[in-house]
Amino acid sequence: MLPTIQEVKEKHQAAILKIEGVISIGVGLKKDKTPAIIVGLKQENQDTIRSIPSVLDGYPVEIQIIGSIKAQ
């Protein structure tokens, strides 16, 4: 059986979160409503973006610039 998107995200999240500039990883929908692993960055940074795979175990990865997340 293929792993679920949640399982794939769990498997890779520690490595993804270690990349400088990455602030979040979650499961969401792309504009076309298909599921994707969504990686949030503090700011636009081509080096960070290049370090993130575009596909993880068959699931697409989408990058979003979300800024710094602060307790409110």
Binding site: Q13, K18, I19, E20, S24, G26, L29, I66, I69
Partner: protein, 332 residues
């Protein structure tokens, strides 16, 4: 020159829209012109602006003419005009959505009422009711919060009863072996011509699920189960992708959004280089600002789905209510 007030009214009526098109103008009206701080007997069209600047710092089109159809203008600085928000005032009985805070913090939001062992408690965040782990059980909770003028003992509404400690991530590690490994990985990163760097963390004993705390009201008649602009809670629901949600908070009042991500792991900043990793969070678009922390998040049917605690300019981060209830042993 004294102008007839009815004539000034006519002129204001005719020019009001054009004056208000100026982005700095927040109000227009009729008043006696003030010269050198003294009120004169001349009627003027008074334009209130966010910030009064010399003409040299303004675009030509944004300079307010010294007179309009023969009536002098007066420009006064009033700042942005906001509706008086009940959310920052003192309210008894206190509903959800208003200012609250531990005696040593600024202010956050009273989320809602919850039950534990058949007693009623106020639910909000650890960083609102327990001062980021620094609070002691029994510490006074003020409504409104200290930043909004809440004072002890007059505004003392509840006592801190229980909180879930936040596990903060350590600052980048000093351990030479760990740094050695990071250095090696960073070296590799350099070799593949990337400036991405690997950071070193000490492993968290427990990943954070919630930023949550409860406080026991002194007097049950000082609180109400209502949430401002929302009403009463109709049970709970597990947050799902695409779910429409709303919250009522101290700073931005009633706002709505949609759950855009689930299973979110996110690094949250608590100021002064203090960060904490949270897992199993919900993420929505922008629907909150500082001071909204602790807001209850509900779906369209007023079912409670989360506890708001963090955000960026474009996102809002929400604890799942099931994790909050399990951690603190709560029910509705």
């Amino acid at each position: 020159m004294n102008s007839d007030i009815s004539k000034v009214r006519e002129i204001l009526k005719a020019t009001r829209k054009r004056l208000s098109d100026n982005p700095d103008v927040v109000a227009t009206g009729i008043g006696y012109k003030i010269v050198d701080g003294k009120k004169t007997s001349d009627l003027s069209i008074t334009c209130s602006v966010k910030r009064k600047l010399p003409g040299s710092q303004l675009l030509k089109k944004d300079i307010i003419a010294s007179s309009v159809d023969g009536i002098p203008t007066d420009v006064i600085q009033t700042g942005v005009i906001r509706a008086f928000m009940a959310n920052t005032g003192r309210i008894r009985p206190a509903p959800g959505g208003i200012s609250i805070g531990h005696i040593n913090i600024t202010a956050g939001t009273l989320g809602c009422l919850v039950k534990k062992n058949n007693e009623v408690y106020i639910l909000s965040n650890n960083h609102v009711l327990a001062n980021e782990n620094n609070g002691q059980i029994g510490d006074p909770i003020l409504q409104p919060g200290p930043y909004d003028g809440g004072l002890y003992p007059g505004d003392h509404i509840a006592d801190l009863y229980q909180f879930i400690p936040i596990n903060f991530s350590d600052a980048p590690h000093k351990c030479s072996t760990v740094n050695g490994i990071a250095g090696f990985l960073n070296g590799l990163a350099k070799m593949v011509n990337s400036s991405a760097r690997f950071r070193t963390y000490s492993v968290q004993a427990v990943d954070n699920l919630v930023d949550a705390a409860i406080a026991k009201p002194f007097n049950i008649s000082d609180v109400t189960g209502e949430i401002l602009e929302i009403g009463t809670i109709q049970g709970t629901v597990s947050g799902e992708l695409g779910m429409a949600i709303k919250k009522s908070g101290r700073t931005t009042g009633l706002t709505t959004g949609e759950i855009a991500q689930i299973d979110v792991s996110v690094t949250v900043s608590y100021g002064d280089n203090k960060t904490a990793l949270f897992v199993d969070q919900l993420m929505a678009g922008a629907m909150s600002q500082g001071g909204d922390s602790g807001s209850a998040v509900l779906n369209a049917d007023n079912k409670l789905t989360g506890l708001l605690f963090a955000g960026s300019d474009s996102t809002t981060i929400i604890n799942r209510i099931e994790n909050v209830f399990t951690a603190l042993g709560l029910s509705i």
